[in-house]
Amino acid sequence: MVLKDLFLGGKKELEVIDKMKKHMGFLCSACTTLKAAIENRDKELISSVSDLEREGDIVRREIFSNIYEGAFLPFLRPNICRFVEIVDNALDVTKDAAIEYTDLELDEETKDDCARIADISAKMCEMLLAAIETLSGRADLREKSLAIRIYEKRVDEIEFDLIKRLRTKEIKNFWEGKALSDFIHDLTSISDLIEDASDYLQIINISLR
């Protein structure tokens, strides 16, 4: 029984990796939906982002439960949990950005920039999803991490220009300004969090080498 567990085991670990991919998949879908909502000014899609966030929460709990049941060496568990928490935070801010967007009326130029940021965030998610797959395969994780960093830099550049332009824009009242500021902040935080998650994945990957 012991030897069977040992040699044929690894099911718990594979299950966790699969759930991490599923969790990441929800983030990808949430970013893509947010992008579509911004691009098409379709506020009906916002509720889908909230649903994805809720489903992500369920998967996060399942991952923690699998880890508690003994998946992975204890040495690796804190970093794996931290990675999952960061992805979950990214889902939370995506949902927050989506909710804030419901009350906003963006001008064409701002809408295009925000859609570009959401698009890059979605691409970063796909790259991070591919990076998770390298844990069970032979592909190089460093290339994916580098691509994520490049994407994040691009988001920073768009954010810099966007904020510079928005500062010259007239705001009708405090709440309109706050909603816009919070929306931009949350939208650009998604890429920051994905980059953080990618760093943790890199730590997990090298910690057994």
């Binding site: 012991v2 690894g10 594979l14 003994g70 060496l73 204890p74 390298t134 057994l208 080498r209």
Partner: protein, 309 residues
């Protein structure tokens, strides 16, 4: 006088069971590779296999080659050894069972004017010096080899292989605990003719198992969690290096300490990662204990016998 050496051996065997299970399978239990119950059974089984297959050489060295054994030497030596080992465990001071037993036997033999074989004693002392150094280099080589081979595999595969390797190295340590540690305890009483070899093997292995079942739980939790929290990769290299080293010295009939070999292994891996990771102060304390334990055992036995006679 006859029951005293046997009672003392029983106490030492129980103490080995309580402390050395953590040397062998503490990491595996800490990593939840194996449950405590299964680990203790596995430990007991491999201790028995160890003493059955390879215990005789070390038993001969300790029981026959060092000092001309008589009941007084045996009684005082093992009683003092048991007391020193129990006190040091109680005070949480690291001492080697081998060093205490051999120090005690030599001290008693010298005090009673028995024929002490200084040639054998010198060989044993030399093996105490060489074995941690051998473990140091073995662990260093194993770590480098793992870096060149294992590190190139995918993450999940490495995780699985490390689990298997950690269990394998734990089994080697359990085996050498029987073949070396238990043999050191049983050697004097078997060669003095106080107990039949087959009964001594079975009884000794059972007592080590009993010590593991009853007393090792807390120590395993501390050591297992402590070590694995550091790094299972280095932990394996240190433990496997130490296991191979004890196995080699056991084949040569030399009674050496598994704990000191593991310390040598950990230091080797630490040096490879950078000298800053090695605590020189801690190594100084361990070196002091390395010198003090046999010296104290020698002097205690010598003084007791000189006072009594």
């Amino acid at each position: 006088m006859q029951p005293i050496p046997i009672i003392a051996s029983v106490l030492i065997a129980l103490s080995v069971g309580s402390n050395d299970t953590s040397n062998a399978l503490g990491i595996c239990i800490g990593c939840r590779i194996i449950s405590f119950r299964r680990a203790v059974i596995l430990f007991g089984v491999f201790v028995l296999i160890g003493i059955l297959l390879q215990g005789r050489k070390v038993m001969k060295t300790v029981g026959k080659d060092i000092v001309e054994m008589d009941l007084r030497i045996l009684g005082i030596s093992l009683l003092v050894s048991a007391m020193l080992i129990i006190i040091s465990n109680w005070k949480r001071l690291p001492v080697s069972t081998h060093q205490v037993i051999i120090g005690s036997l030599t001290g008693s033999g010298t005090a009673l004017g028995a024929d002490v074989n200084y040639g054998s004693l010198f060989e044993i002392l030399l093996s105490w010096v060489i074995s941690p150094l051998a473990a140091f280099f073995a662990s260093l080589i194993i770590y480098r080899a793992m870096e060149k081979t294992l590190s190139k595999l995918p993450f999940l595969q490495i995780e699985r292989i490390i689990r298997v390797l950690l269990l394998a190295s734990g089994i080697i340590i359990a085996y050498t605990t029987g073949a070396n540690e238990l043999a050191t305890i049983l050697g004097p009483i078997i060669h003095a003719g106080l107990i039949d070899e087959a009964w001594a093997f079975l009884g000794g292995a059972f007592l080590v198992f009993l010590g593991a079942v009853l007393l090792s739980n807390r120590i395993i939790e501390t050591i297992g969690s402590g070590i694995t929290a550091l790094d299972p990769y280095s932990g394996f290299a240190a433990q496997f290096g130490a296991g191979c080293c004890v196995f080699l010295f056991t084949s040569l009939g030399m009674p050496i300490s598994t704990t000191y070999c593991i310390i040598g292994g950990i230091t080797g891996v630490g040096m490879l990662k950078g000298t800053g990771t090695v605590s020189v102060d801690l190594l100084k304390k361990i070196a002091l204990s390395w010198i003090m334990a046999p010296a104290l055992a020698f002097l205690t036995c010598f003084t007791i016998i000189r006072t009594l006679t």
